[in-house]
Amino acid sequence: MSTERKGDVTGRSITDVDLSSEKFKNRLFYGLLLAASSFGVVMLVFLFADIFYEAAIGQREFGIELGRFLGNTGSQTPANAGFYSAIIASVWLMALTVVFILFLGISTALYLVEYAPDNRTTRLIEANLANLAGVPSVVYGILILALVVNGAGLGSVILAGAFALSALVVPIVIVASIESIRAVPDGMRDGSAATGATKWQTIRRVVLPQSLPGIMTGTILALARAVGETAPLLMVGALFTDTSVPGGPFDSFSSMPVQIYNWTFLPQREFLALAAMGIIVLLVVLLLMQAVAVYIRRKYERDVSLTGV
Protein backbone atom coordinates (compact mmCIF):
# COMPACT_ATOMS: atom_id res chain seq x y z
CA MET A 1 0.00 0.00 0.00
CA SER A 2 2.58 2.51 1.09
CA THR A 3 4.83 1.82 -1.85
CA GLU A 4 1.92 2.22 -4.25
CA ARG A 5 1.03 5.56 -2.72
CA LYS A 6 4.62 6.64 -2.98
CA GLY A 7 4.45 5.82 -6.67
CA ASP A 8 1.38 8.01 -7.02
CA VAL A 9 3.11 10.97 -5.56
CA THR A 10 6.29 10.68 -7.49
CA GLY A 11 5.11 9.16 -10.72
CA ARG A 12 1.76 10.67 -11.64
CA SER A 13 0.51 14.11 -12.41
CA ILE A 14 -1.52 15.96 -9.79
CA THR A 15 -4.61 15.91 -12.01
CA ASP A 16 -4.59 12.13 -12.32
CA VAL A 17 -5.71 11.42 -8.74
CA ASP A 18 -9.22 10.06 -8.38
CA LEU A 19 -10.76 11.58 -5.26
CA SER A 20 -14.41 10.87 -6.08
CA SER A 21 -15.01 8.24 -3.38
CA GLU A 22 -13.34 10.41 -0.69
CA LYS A 23 -15.36 13.38 -1.85
CA PHE A 24 -18.53 11.32 -1.61
CA LYS A 25 -17.74 10.37 1.99
CA ASN A 26 -17.06 14.03 2.75
CA ARG A 27 -20.46 15.05 1.47
CA LEU A 28 -22.19 12.11 3.12
CA PHE A 29 -20.91 12.93 6.60
CA TYR A 30 -21.44 16.65 6.13
CA GLY A 31 -25.08 15.87 5.31
CA LEU A 32 -25.47 13.49 8.26
CA LEU A 33 -24.05 15.99 10.74
CA LEU A 34 -26.19 18.78 9.36
CA ALA A 35 -29.34 16.65 9.54
CA ALA A 36 -28.58 15.61 13.12
CA SER A 37 -28.03 19.15 14.28
CA SER A 38 -31.09 20.43 12.42
CA PHE A 39 -33.29 17.93 14.24
CA GLY A 40 -33.58 19.99 17.40
CA VAL A 41 -34.24 23.22 15.51
CA VAL A 42 -36.90 21.60 13.35
CA MET A 43 -38.64 20.15 16.42
CA LEU A 44 -38.59 23.57 18.06
CA VAL A 45 -40.12 25.13 14.95
CA PHE A 46 -42.91 22.50 14.96
CA LEU A 47 -43.52 23.16 18.65
CA PHE A 48 -43.76 26.91 18.11
CA ALA A 49 -46.00 26.46 15.05
CA ASP A 50 -48.33 24.17 17.01
CA ILE A 51 -48.52 26.51 20.00
CA PHE A 52 -49.13 29.64 17.95
CA TYR A 53 -51.74 27.78 15.88
CA GLU A 54 -53.60 26.77 19.03
CA ALA A 55 -53.33 30.28 20.44
CA ALA A 56 -54.67 31.68 17.17
CA ILE A 57 -57.66 29.32 17.40
CA GLY A 58 -58.23 30.64 20.89
CA GLN A 59 -58.34 34.19 19.55
CA ARG A 60 -60.56 33.42 16.58
CA GLU A 61 -63.04 30.84 17.85
CA PHE A 62 -63.26 31.57 21.56
CA GLY A 63 -62.35 35.26 21.55
CA ILE A 64 -59.85 34.93 24.44
CA GLU A 65 -58.61 38.40 25.26
CA LEU A 66 -55.03 38.77 26.40
CA GLY A 67 -56.11 41.16 29.17
CA ARG A 68 -58.61 38.66 30.56
CA PHE A 69 -56.11 35.82 30.21
CA LEU A 70 -53.40 37.67 32.15
CA GLY A 71 -55.80 39.21 34.67
CA ASN A 72 -58.18 36.40 35.70
CA THR A 73 -57.53 33.69 38.27
CA GLY A 74 -57.98 30.00 37.53
CA SER A 75 -61.50 28.74 36.91
CA GLN A 76 -63.35 25.55 35.97
CA THR A 77 -65.27 27.57 33.38
CA PRO A 78 -63.18 28.11 30.24
CA ALA A 79 -64.69 31.54 29.60
CA ASN A 80 -63.52 32.79 33.01
CA ALA A 81 -60.19 30.99 33.27
CA GLY A 82 -57.04 33.10 33.39
CA PHE A 83 -53.34 32.76 34.13
CA TYR A 84 -52.94 35.46 36.81
CA SER A 85 -52.82 33.30 39.95
CA ALA A 86 -50.40 30.91 38.22
CA ILE A 87 -48.10 33.80 37.24
CA ILE A 88 -48.11 35.25 40.76
CA ALA A 89 -47.49 31.81 42.26
CA SER A 90 -44.51 31.34 39.93
CA VAL A 91 -43.17 34.77 40.91
CA TRP A 92 -43.44 33.79 44.59
CA LEU A 93 -41.77 30.43 43.91
CA MET A 94 -38.91 32.11 42.03
CA ALA A 95 -38.45 34.82 44.67
CA LEU A 96 -38.15 32.25 47.48
CA THR A 97 -36.10 29.82 45.40
CA VAL A 98 -33.52 32.46 44.42
CA VAL A 99 -32.91 33.30 48.08
CA PHE A 100 -32.44 29.63 49.03
CA ILE A 101 -30.23 28.67 46.10
CA LEU A 102 -28.02 31.77 46.33
CA PHE A 103 -27.40 31.22 50.02
CA LEU A 104 -26.93 27.44 49.80
CA GLY A 105 -25.07 27.54 46.48
CA ILE A 106 -22.52 30.22 47.35
CA SER A 107 -21.97 28.91 50.89
CA THR A 108 -21.40 25.35 49.72
CA ALA A 109 -19.08 26.41 46.90
CA LEU A 110 -17.06 28.72 49.18
CA TYR A 111 -16.71 25.95 51.74
CA LEU A 112 -15.61 23.37 49.18
CA VAL A 113 -13.10 25.65 47.42
CA GLU A 114 -11.77 27.85 50.21
CA TYR A 115 -12.12 25.85 53.42
CA ALA A 116 -12.54 22.11 52.87
CA PRO A 117 -9.33 20.07 53.18
CA ASP A 118 -8.13 18.73 49.84
CA ASN A 119 -8.85 15.06 50.51
CA ARG A 120 -10.78 12.16 49.04
CA THR A 121 -14.05 13.05 50.78
CA THR A 122 -14.04 16.56 49.36
CA ARG A 123 -13.31 15.32 45.86
CA LEU A 124 -16.04 12.67 46.19
CA ILE A 125 -18.59 15.30 47.19
CA GLU A 126 -17.58 17.58 44.34
CA ALA A 127 -17.70 14.79 41.77
CA ASN A 128 -21.17 13.76 42.90
CA LEU A 129 -22.66 17.25 42.75
CA ALA A 130 -22.98 16.82 39.01
CA ASN A 131 -24.72 13.46 39.54
CA LEU A 132 -27.34 15.16 41.72
CA ALA A 133 -28.51 17.02 38.64
CA GLY A 134 -29.42 13.64 37.15
CA VAL A 135 -31.83 12.67 39.93
CA PRO A 136 -35.43 12.67 38.58
CA SER A 137 -37.14 15.87 39.68
CA VAL A 138 -40.12 13.97 41.05
CA VAL A 139 -37.85 12.47 43.71
CA TYR A 140 -37.21 15.91 45.19
CA GLY A 141 -40.99 16.44 45.22
CA ILE A 142 -41.51 13.22 47.20
CA LEU A 143 -38.71 14.19 49.60
CA ILE A 144 -40.24 17.58 50.36
CA LEU A 145 -43.72 16.02 50.56
CA ALA A 146 -42.47 13.69 53.29
CA LEU A 147 -40.25 16.18 55.13
CA VAL A 148 -42.05 19.50 54.87
CA VAL A 149 -45.63 19.06 53.70
CA ASN A 150 -46.45 16.09 55.93
CA GLY A 151 -43.44 15.85 58.25
CA ALA A 152 -43.35 19.45 59.40
CA GLY A 153 -47.07 19.78 58.79
CA LEU A 154 -46.77 22.89 56.65
CA GLY A 155 -49.28 21.57 54.11
CA SER A 156 -49.18 22.24 50.38
CA VAL A 157 -47.89 25.79 50.50
CA ILE A 158 -45.66 27.93 48.28
CA LEU A 159 -42.75 27.57 50.72
CA ALA A 160 -42.80 23.78 50.31
CA GLY A 161 -42.85 24.20 46.52
CA ALA A 162 -39.87 26.54 46.74
CA PHE A 163 -38.00 23.99 48.88
CA ALA A 164 -38.59 21.29 46.26
CA LEU A 165 -37.46 23.54 43.38
CA SER A 166 -34.41 24.71 45.37
CA ALA A 167 -33.33 21.17 46.17
CA LEU A 168 -33.68 20.33 42.49
CA VAL A 169 -31.59 23.17 41.05
CA VAL A 170 -29.12 24.07 43.82
CA PRO A 171 -26.46 21.67 42.40
CA ILE A 172 -26.42 23.80 39.23
CA VAL A 173 -25.62 26.89 41.31
CA ILE A 174 -23.00 25.06 43.36
CA VAL A 175 -21.17 23.76 40.30
CA ALA A 176 -21.26 27.17 38.56
CA SER A 177 -20.07 28.88 41.76
CA ILE A 178 -17.24 26.41 42.33
CA GLU A 179 -16.00 27.02 38.80
CA SER A 180 -16.04 30.79 39.03
CA ILE A 181 -14.54 30.87 42.54
CA ARG A 182 -11.77 28.55 41.39
CA ALA A 183 -11.14 30.83 38.39
CA VAL A 184 -10.01 33.63 40.71
CA PRO A 185 -6.19 33.49 40.47
CA ASP A 186 -4.35 32.36 43.62
CA GLY A 187 -2.12 35.42 43.21
CA MET A 188 -5.13 37.49 44.30
CA ARG A 189 -5.58 35.46 47.48
CA ASP A 190 -1.83 35.63 48.21
CA GLY A 191 -1.80 39.39 47.64
CA SER A 192 -4.70 39.85 50.01
CA ALA A 193 -3.31 37.56 52.71
CA ALA A 194 0.12 39.20 52.51
CA THR A 195 -1.53 42.59 53.05
CA GLY A 196 -2.84 41.32 56.39
CA ALA A 197 -6.38 40.33 55.43
CA THR A 198 -8.11 37.48 57.23
CA LYS A 199 -9.52 34.63 55.19
CA TRP A 200 -13.04 36.02 55.32
CA GLN A 201 -11.85 39.52 54.33
CA THR A 202 -10.10 37.97 51.35
CA ILE A 203 -13.25 36.08 50.36
CA ARG A 204 -15.54 39.06 50.92
CA ARG A 205 -13.39 41.73 49.25
CA VAL A 206 -11.42 39.88 46.56
CA VAL A 207 -12.80 36.42 45.76
CA LEU A 208 -16.56 37.08 45.79
CA PRO A 209 -16.54 40.31 43.72
CA GLN A 210 -14.58 38.53 41.01
CA SER A 211 -16.66 35.37 40.97
CA LEU A 212 -20.08 36.99 41.31
CA PRO A 213 -20.80 37.35 37.56
CA GLY A 214 -20.30 33.60 37.08
CA ILE A 215 -22.38 32.82 40.16
CA MET A 216 -25.20 35.09 38.97
CA THR A 217 -25.21 33.52 35.51
CA GLY A 218 -25.42 30.04 37.02
CA THR A 219 -28.20 31.16 39.35
CA ILE A 220 -30.32 32.60 36.55
CA LEU A 221 -29.91 29.46 34.45
CA ALA A 222 -30.92 27.40 37.50
CA LEU A 223 -34.00 29.59 37.99
CA ALA A 224 -34.90 29.19 34.34
CA ARG A 225 -34.83 25.44 34.90
CA ALA A 226 -36.92 25.77 38.07
CA VAL A 227 -39.61 27.99 36.57
CA GLY A 228 -40.52 25.32 34.01
CA GLU A 229 -40.64 22.39 36.45
CA THR A 230 -43.96 20.61 36.98
CA ALA A 231 -43.36 17.21 38.59
CA PRO A 232 -41.96 18.23 41.99
CA LEU A 233 -44.74 20.78 42.43
CA LEU A 234 -47.40 18.18 41.63
CA MET A 235 -45.86 15.94 44.29
CA VAL A 236 -45.83 18.72 46.84
CA GLY A 237 -49.51 19.33 46.10
CA ALA A 238 -49.83 22.31 43.81
CA LEU A 239 -53.43 23.17 42.87
CA PHE A 240 -54.68 22.40 39.37
CA THR A 241 -57.03 25.33 39.49
CA ASP A 242 -56.30 28.17 41.86
CA THR A 243 -59.26 30.52 42.08
CA SER A 244 -57.49 32.89 44.47
CA VAL A 245 -54.28 34.86 44.10
CA PRO A 246 -51.55 33.64 46.48
CA GLY A 247 -50.42 36.41 48.81
CA GLY A 248 -47.54 34.86 50.70
CA PRO A 249 -45.28 31.85 51.28
CA PHE A 250 -47.91 30.01 53.34
CA ASP A 251 -50.70 30.19 50.76
CA SER A 252 -51.74 27.31 48.55
CA PHE A 253 -50.60 27.70 44.99
CA SER A 254 -50.59 26.64 41.40
CA SER A 255 -47.79 27.69 39.03
CA MET A 256 -47.40 28.39 35.34
CA PRO A 257 -46.29 24.89 34.25
CA VAL A 258 -48.78 23.15 36.59
CA GLN A 259 -51.65 25.26 35.24
CA ILE A 260 -50.60 24.52 31.66
CA TYR A 261 -50.32 20.82 32.46
CA ASN A 262 -53.82 20.83 33.92
CA TRP A 263 -55.37 22.74 31.00
CA THR A 264 -54.03 20.24 28.48
CA PHE A 265 -55.90 17.45 30.31
CA LEU A 266 -59.30 19.13 30.44
CA PRO A 267 -61.87 18.02 27.83
CA GLN A 268 -63.04 21.44 26.57
CA ARG A 269 -61.28 22.61 23.41
CA GLU A 270 -60.92 26.15 24.76
CA PHE A 271 -58.58 24.96 27.53
CA LEU A 272 -56.09 23.79 24.88
CA ALA A 273 -55.98 27.31 23.50
CA LEU A 274 -55.48 28.65 27.03
CA ALA A 275 -52.61 26.19 27.53
CA ALA A 276 -51.00 27.40 24.30
CA MET A 277 -51.18 30.99 25.47
CA GLY A 278 -49.76 29.96 28.84
CA ILE A 279 -46.84 28.27 27.11
CA ILE A 280 -46.14 31.48 25.18
CA VAL A 281 -46.06 33.47 28.43
CA LEU A 282 -43.73 30.90 30.00
CA LEU A 283 -41.43 30.98 26.96
CA VAL A 284 -41.28 34.79 27.10
CA VAL A 285 -40.30 34.60 30.77
CA LEU A 286 -37.61 32.00 29.99
CA LEU A 287 -36.19 34.05 27.14
CA LEU A 288 -36.06 37.15 29.34
CA MET A 289 -34.16 35.22 32.02
CA GLN A 290 -31.67 33.89 29.48
CA ALA A 291 -31.22 37.40 28.13
CA VAL A 292 -30.44 38.73 31.60
CA ALA A 293 -27.88 35.92 32.07
CA VAL A 294 -26.19 36.76 28.76
CA TYR A 295 -26.22 40.47 29.62
CA ILE A 296 -24.52 39.87 32.97
CA ARG A 297 -21.89 37.66 31.36
CA ARG A 298 -21.12 40.23 28.65
CA LYS A 299 -21.04 43.11 31.10
CA TYR A 300 -18.36 41.48 33.24
CA GLU A 301 -16.46 39.73 30.48
CA ARG A 302 -13.92 42.53 30.34
CA ASP A 303 -13.14 42.31 34.05
CA VAL A 304 -12.86 38.55 33.97
CA SER A 305 -10.52 38.48 30.98
CA LEU A 306 -8.28 41.03 32.66
CA THR A 307 -8.01 39.13 35.90
CA GLY A 308 -6.31 36.16 34.28
CA VAL A 309 -2.97 37.23 35.71
Partner: protein, 277 residues
Amino acid sequence: MSTQENSQKLISTEVQVDERTHDGSADTVVSAADLSVYYGDDQALSDVSVDIPEKRVTAIIGPSGCGKSTFLRSINRMNDRISMCRVEGRLQFNGKNVYDDDVDPVALRRRIGQVFQSPNPFPKSIYDNVAYGLRVQGKADDVDLDKEVERALKQAALWDEVKDKLDSFGLDLSGGQQQRLCIARAIAPDPEVVLMDEPTSALDPVAASKIEDLIEDLAETYTVIIVTHNMQQAARISDKTAVFLTGGELVEFDDTATIFEDPDDQRVEDYITGKFG
Protein backbone atom coordinates in the same frame (compact mmCIF):
# COMPACT_ATOMS: atom_id res chain seq x y z
CA MET B 1 44.46 35.47 43.01
CA SER B 2 43.07 34.69 39.66
CA THR B 3 39.58 33.83 40.85
CA GLN B 4 39.34 37.14 42.59
CA GLU B 5 40.38 38.90 39.41
CA ASN B 6 37.67 36.94 37.70
CA SER B 7 34.95 38.12 39.97
CA GLN B 8 36.21 41.69 39.90
CA LYS B 9 36.18 41.59 36.15
CA LEU B 10 32.59 40.44 36.19
CA ILE B 11 31.65 43.25 38.49
CA SER B 12 33.62 45.97 36.71
CA THR B 13 32.02 45.20 33.37
CA GLU B 14 28.42 45.39 34.37
CA VAL B 15 28.04 45.95 38.02
CA GLN B 16 28.75 48.76 40.35
CA VAL B 17 28.70 47.42 43.85
CA ASP B 18 26.79 49.63 46.16
CA GLU B 19 29.51 51.10 48.35
CA ARG B 20 27.20 53.16 50.57
CA THR B 21 28.80 53.14 53.96
CA HIS B 22 26.52 52.53 56.84
CA ASP B 23 27.49 52.90 60.44
CA GLY B 24 27.43 49.13 60.56
CA SER B 25 25.54 48.97 63.82
CA ALA B 26 22.04 48.42 62.44
CA ASP B 27 19.64 46.54 64.70
CA THR B 28 18.59 43.07 63.68
CA VAL B 29 14.91 42.99 62.73
CA VAL B 30 14.52 39.52 61.27
CA SER B 31 16.63 36.67 62.50
CA ALA B 32 16.55 32.97 61.67
CA ALA B 33 18.05 30.32 63.96
CA ASP B 34 18.45 26.76 62.67
CA LEU B 35 15.39 27.27 60.48
CA SER B 36 14.40 24.21 58.46
CA VAL B 37 11.37 23.98 56.19
CA TYR B 38 9.96 20.78 54.73
CA TYR B 39 7.36 20.20 52.04
CA GLY B 40 6.14 16.74 52.92
CA ASP B 41 9.33 14.67 52.89
CA ASP B 42 11.36 17.16 50.88
CA GLN B 43 13.59 19.50 52.81
CA ALA B 44 13.51 22.98 51.26
CA LEU B 45 15.58 24.81 53.86
CA SER B 46 18.20 23.27 56.10
CA ASP B 47 19.37 24.88 59.33
CA VAL B 48 19.40 28.46 58.12
CA SER B 49 20.73 31.00 60.58
CA VAL B 50 20.96 34.66 59.62
CA ASP B 51 20.51 38.12 61.15
CA ILE B 52 18.92 40.64 58.79
CA PRO B 53 19.57 44.30 59.65
CA GLU B 54 16.96 47.04 59.92
CA LYS B 55 16.45 49.58 57.11
CA ARG B 56 18.84 47.92 54.71
CA VAL B 57 18.31 46.04 51.48
CA THR B 58 19.16 42.40 51.97
CA ALA B 59 19.36 40.34 48.81
CA ILE B 60 18.85 36.60 48.73
CA ILE B 61 20.46 34.96 45.73
CA GLY B 62 21.04 31.42 44.59
CA PRO B 63 20.19 28.96 41.84
CA SER B 64 16.63 27.81 41.15
CA GLY B 65 15.21 25.49 43.77
CA CYS B 66 17.68 26.55 46.45
CA GLY B 67 14.93 27.58 48.84
CA LYS B 68 15.29 31.35 48.58
CA SER B 69 11.58 31.94 48.03
CA THR B 70 10.78 29.42 50.76
CA PHE B 71 12.94 31.41 53.15
CA LEU B 72 11.16 34.63 52.19
CA ARG B 73 7.73 33.07 52.64
CA SER B 74 8.70 31.66 56.02
CA ILE B 75 9.31 35.18 57.34
CA ASN B 76 5.65 36.27 57.00
CA ARG B 77 4.35 32.71 57.37
CA MET B 78 2.88 32.63 53.87
CA ASN B 79 4.16 29.04 53.92
CA ASP B 80 1.36 28.28 56.37
CA ARG B 81 -0.98 28.50 53.40
CA ILE B 82 0.62 25.36 51.93
CA SER B 83 -0.92 22.48 53.85
CA MET B 84 2.01 20.06 53.58
CA CYS B 85 4.57 22.62 54.75
CA ARG B 86 6.35 22.07 58.09
CA VAL B 87 8.75 24.44 59.86
CA GLU B 88 11.41 23.67 62.46
CA GLY B 89 13.71 26.05 64.31
CA ARG B 90 13.11 29.71 65.04
CA LEU B 91 12.38 32.77 63.01
CA GLN B 92 12.40 35.91 65.07
CA PHE B 93 10.82 39.21 64.19
CA ASN B 94 11.89 41.95 66.60
CA GLY B 95 13.01 39.25 69.01
CA LYS B 96 9.76 37.26 68.96
CA ASN B 97 9.62 33.80 67.39
CA VAL B 98 6.86 34.13 64.79
CA TYR B 99 6.16 30.39 64.99
CA ASP B 100 5.17 30.62 68.67
CA ASP B 101 1.60 29.58 69.35
CA ASP B 102 0.55 33.05 70.41
CA VAL B 103 1.54 34.68 67.09
CA ASP B 104 -1.31 35.10 64.63
CA PRO B 105 -0.01 35.07 61.04
CA VAL B 106 -2.58 37.74 60.11
CA ALA B 107 -1.13 40.09 62.74
CA LEU B 108 2.39 39.23 61.55
CA ARG B 109 1.56 40.04 57.93
CA ARG B 110 0.22 43.43 59.00
CA ARG B 111 3.79 44.27 60.05
CA ILE B 112 5.55 42.55 57.14
CA GLY B 113 4.37 43.38 53.61
CA GLN B 114 5.10 41.37 50.50
CA VAL B 115 5.47 42.01 46.78
CA PHE B 116 5.17 39.04 44.46
CA GLN B 117 6.95 37.85 41.33
CA SER B 118 4.21 38.72 38.87
CA PRO B 119 2.19 41.87 39.56
CA ASN B 120 -1.11 40.91 41.19
CA PRO B 121 -3.20 44.06 41.66
CA PHE B 122 -6.84 43.41 42.53
CA PRO B 123 -9.48 44.13 39.86
CA LYS B 124 -10.34 47.33 41.69
CA SER B 125 -9.48 50.99 41.18
CA ILE B 126 -5.93 52.22 41.77
CA TYR B 127 -7.15 54.00 44.89
CA ASP B 128 -8.92 50.92 46.28
CA ASN B 129 -5.85 48.78 45.61
CA VAL B 130 -3.62 51.06 47.68
CA ALA B 131 -6.24 51.57 50.39
CA TYR B 132 -6.89 47.82 50.65
CA GLY B 133 -4.41 47.11 53.46
CA LEU B 134 -5.53 50.08 55.54
CA ARG B 135 -9.14 49.02 55.12
CA VAL B 136 -8.75 45.35 56.01
CA GLN B 137 -6.51 46.28 58.92
CA GLY B 138 -9.20 48.59 60.29
CA LYS B 139 -7.00 51.67 60.03
CA ALA B 140 -9.02 53.41 57.34
CA ASP B 141 -11.10 55.40 59.83
CA ASP B 142 -8.17 56.49 61.96
CA VAL B 143 -6.09 58.03 59.21
CA ASP B 144 -6.66 60.46 56.36
CA LEU B 145 -7.08 57.76 53.73
CA ASP B 146 -6.54 60.11 50.75
CA LYS B 147 -3.29 61.31 52.26
CA GLU B 148 -2.04 57.81 53.04
CA VAL B 149 -2.84 56.63 49.51
CA GLU B 150 -0.96 59.61 48.10
CA ARG B 151 1.99 58.97 50.42
CA ALA B 152 2.21 55.30 49.45
CA LEU B 153 1.93 56.06 45.73
CA LYS B 154 4.67 58.70 46.05
CA GLN B 155 6.93 56.28 47.92
CA ALA B 156 6.28 53.77 45.15
CA ALA B 157 7.23 56.40 42.53
CA LEU B 158 3.85 56.02 40.85
CA TRP B 159 1.99 59.14 42.03
CA ASP B 160 2.89 61.40 39.10
CA GLU B 161 1.70 58.81 36.58
CA VAL B 162 -1.66 58.03 38.20
CA LYS B 163 -2.68 61.05 40.28
CA ASP B 164 -5.29 62.08 37.70
CA LYS B 165 -6.82 58.64 37.30
CA LEU B 166 -7.02 57.14 40.77
CA ASP B 167 -10.49 55.80 39.95
CA SER B 168 -9.37 53.86 36.91
CA PHE B 169 -8.78 50.14 36.93
CA GLY B 170 -5.48 48.99 38.46
CA LEU B 171 -5.23 46.27 35.82
CA ASP B 172 -5.25 48.86 33.01
CA LEU B 173 -1.74 49.98 34.00
CA SER B 174 1.40 48.65 32.33
CA GLY B 175 3.25 45.72 33.93
CA GLY B 176 5.87 47.93 35.58
CA GLN B 177 3.21 50.32 36.85
CA GLN B 178 1.19 47.39 38.18
CA GLN B 179 4.20 46.16 40.12
CA ARG B 180 4.76 49.64 41.60
CA LEU B 181 1.05 49.67 42.46
CA CYS B 182 1.60 46.40 44.33
CA ILE B 183 4.55 47.97 46.14
CA ALA B 184 2.31 50.91 47.10
CA ARG B 185 -0.31 48.42 48.31
CA ALA B 186 2.31 46.64 50.42
CA ILE B 187 3.69 49.82 52.04
CA ALA B 188 0.42 51.74 52.49
CA PRO B 189 -0.30 50.16 55.92
CA ASP B 190 3.24 51.21 56.93
CA PRO B 191 4.82 47.80 57.65
CA GLU B 192 8.32 47.45 59.10
CA VAL B 193 9.60 44.91 56.61
CA VAL B 194 8.86 44.58 52.89
CA LEU B 195 9.53 41.18 51.32
CA MET B 196 10.04 41.06 47.57
CA ASP B 197 10.02 37.80 45.63
CA GLU B 198 11.80 38.41 42.31
CA PRO B 199 9.77 41.60 41.81
CA THR B 200 11.33 42.50 38.46
CA SER B 201 11.59 39.11 36.79
CA ALA B 202 8.31 39.57 34.91
CA LEU B 203 9.19 43.10 33.74
CA ASP B 204 11.13 44.66 30.88
CA PRO B 205 14.55 46.18 31.68
CA VAL B 206 13.34 49.79 31.81
CA ALA B 207 10.49 48.98 34.19
CA ALA B 208 12.88 46.79 36.20
CA SER B 209 15.42 49.56 36.63
CA LYS B 210 12.72 51.93 37.89
CA ILE B 211 11.83 49.38 40.55
CA GLU B 212 15.49 48.92 41.45
CA ASP B 213 15.86 52.68 42.04
CA LEU B 214 12.72 52.59 44.10
CA ILE B 215 13.93 49.73 46.30
CA GLU B 216 17.01 51.69 47.38
CA ASP B 217 14.77 54.60 48.43
CA LEU B 218 12.41 52.28 50.28
CA ALA B 219 15.27 51.09 52.48
CA GLU B 220 15.39 54.52 54.10
CA THR B 221 12.02 53.75 55.69
CA TYR B 222 11.64 49.98 55.57
CA THR B 223 13.71 46.87 55.91
CA VAL B 224 13.72 45.32 52.44
CA ILE B 225 14.42 41.65 51.84
CA ILE B 226 14.55 40.79 48.15
CA VAL B 227 14.86 37.44 46.45
CA THR B 228 16.46 37.73 43.04
CA HIS B 229 18.02 35.40 40.50
CA ASN B 230 19.73 38.38 38.94
CA MET B 231 23.16 38.74 40.52
CA GLN B 232 23.81 42.14 38.96
CA GLN B 233 20.60 43.36 40.54
CA ALA B 234 21.65 42.06 43.93
CA ALA B 235 25.03 43.73 43.57
CA ARG B 236 23.49 47.03 42.48
CA ILE B 237 20.83 47.50 45.11
CA SER B 238 21.62 45.49 48.20
CA ASP B 239 23.67 46.21 51.30
CA LYS B 240 23.78 42.62 52.49
CA THR B 241 23.64 39.46 50.43
CA ALA B 242 22.74 35.94 51.45
CA VAL B 243 23.75 33.15 49.09
CA PHE B 244 21.67 29.98 49.16
CA LEU B 245 22.80 26.91 47.28
CA THR B 246 21.01 23.73 46.30
CA GLY B 247 19.69 21.79 49.26
CA GLY B 248 18.31 24.86 50.98
CA GLU B 249 21.57 25.68 52.66
CA LEU B 250 22.64 29.25 53.43
CA VAL B 251 26.27 29.18 52.34
CA GLU B 252 27.36 32.72 53.01
CA PHE B 253 25.92 35.94 54.35
CA ASP B 254 27.90 39.16 54.38
CA ASP B 255 28.12 42.70 53.06
CA THR B 256 27.27 42.69 49.39
CA ALA B 257 30.67 44.07 48.44
CA THR B 258 32.40 41.24 50.27
CA ILE B 259 30.19 38.57 48.70
CA PHE B 260 30.87 39.82 45.20
CA GLU B 261 34.53 40.72 45.58
CA ASP B 262 35.98 38.37 48.13
CA PRO B 263 33.65 35.58 49.21
CA ASP B 264 34.92 33.11 51.77
CA ASP B 265 33.31 30.08 50.28
CA GLN B 266 34.64 28.61 47.07
CA ARG B 267 31.12 27.53 46.01
CA VAL B 268 29.88 31.10 46.31
CA GLU B 269 32.74 32.31 44.17
CA ASP B 270 31.97 29.63 41.59
CA TYR B 271 28.30 30.63 41.60
CA ILE B 272 29.01 34.35 41.31
CA THR B 273 31.49 33.90 38.50
CA GLY B 274 28.94 31.80 36.66
CA LYS B 275 30.61 28.41 36.92
CA PHE B 276 27.23 26.90 37.80
CA GLY B 277 23.67 27.84 38.52
